[in-house]
Symmetry: C2
Subunit: 237 residues, 2 copies
């Protein structure tokens, strides 16, 4: 049975403050819920309109699901999982670091890219949008279960790292002609401002994604598409 | 002065039917409006809260702007421009073709990518989201003024093309090891279903974006990030 306390809890989890307080987050839809059930994530509550899953389910009506869902067309299930303890990983292999990426859709897309390109370690500055934000979770399409994410003081993290640090800038060297190593930290910047000055100082190799337009008027690429191009270049060689 | 007819016209332009009927579309924000004013687009109406532009302006109050804007935080200006006559271009150089891309944000991002990579000719199937949709126009950040877009019967278009046709599929050859030509049509598919069967039959060379994840569980890339990787590969060589 769906209780008032359930409704109140789920509504509160749309705010970062309460996600952190309860250590819980929301996943919606049959496919998304199944991906998290199959993963190392620990289930807290599972609501579904039918006995779909091989897990303890609170059966609810379509009307009740509509009440707790944030989706325009809710898809049969909503689950609450525990936020795992953040693992502090030593930078090794290829690490992606985000300097204040704010858009949930962008972060979700970037987590999918990490999953695709086998980047197991995604590092986010404290001001980057929360990866347990409901919109991020939806946009990752389950990739969140396979990518380890840590929120850090990025300046401190980079200062103590012993592997090369890459970032893209307008005045960097073409990413197409550089020999790119298999180990390093690649920084992608904020949607409006790019990589901040404090972080740019810690970059050991400046790269550039060449622009081909005849008019050369495009100002920038979206951060998720730029990440796609950069990760593809690091991995292709 | 902002009249009732202005308000009614602008509201109607959020629907494709009325955009086509009137041959008009909406651009919002100082930067976006300026990009269209500097381009070949023909201005129909310009509303602004101050005399910002070197063009005939209907001055309105902030409250009036709020009334006609679709943005959460309207930015001083809203303009109505004429939809230009669609130019039928013979496929030449590198052409990007979209097979039913439905999400306005994705189309906007793809138009920015075309601008960045110097793709001057973007071809869309009839079911692809309208490029004069307000959300698309906002997402293109002015790139719409530099990329020529045509809506076509894609099957017919490909059948009559005399240059190679590329598409990405799970069973294609790695895009990293193929010699990619400077001339060809690259097809990107629908968000949920990829390239449709009818269109897949017309592909002359199947490509694949290799996946690197240890778990190999990611199902797909977002269409805009996949487009970024594919265009980067075609252009880098």
């Amino acid at each position: 049975m769906l209780t008032k306390n359930h409704i109140k809890l789920i509504a509160s989890l749309h705010q970062k403050k309460y996600r952190q307080q309860h250590g819980l987050f929301v996943v919606e839809g049959v496919k998304g819920v199944q991906e998290f059930l199959n993963s190392h994530y620990e289930l807290f509550h599972l609501f579904a309109t039918a006995p779909i899953f091989d897990a303890k389910t609170i059966e609810i009506s379509d009307k009740e699901l509509n009440k707790i869902s944030q989706l325009k067309s809710p898809n049969k299930a909503l689950a609450v999982f525990r936020i795992p303890q953040q693992k502090m990983m030593t930078p090794r292999g290829l690490v992606l670091a985000l300097d204040d990426v704010r858009d949930p859709g962008n972060l979700g897309t970037i987590i999918r890219l990490c999953d695709w390109f086998g980047i197991e370690n995604l590092v986010c500055s404290k001001a980057t949008v929360d990866c347990y934000n409901t919109k991020v979770v939806q946009a990752t399409m389950g990739s969140l279960t396979r990518v380890s994410i840590q929120y850090v003081d990025l300046e401190h993290y980079l200062k103590s790292a012993s592997i090369p640090v890459f970032g893209t800038f307008m005045d960097g060297d073409s990413i197409y002609s550089e020999e790119l190593p298999t180990e390093g930290i690649v920084i992608m910047g904020n949607e409006a401002n790019g990589i901040s000055d404090a972080i740019a100082k810690l970059v050991t190799k400046k790269l550039r994604i060449p622009r081909f337009g005849r008019l050369q008027a495009t100002e920038s690429l979206n951060v998720a598409t730029a990440t796609a191009i950069v990760l593809s270049e690091f991995k292709r060689s």
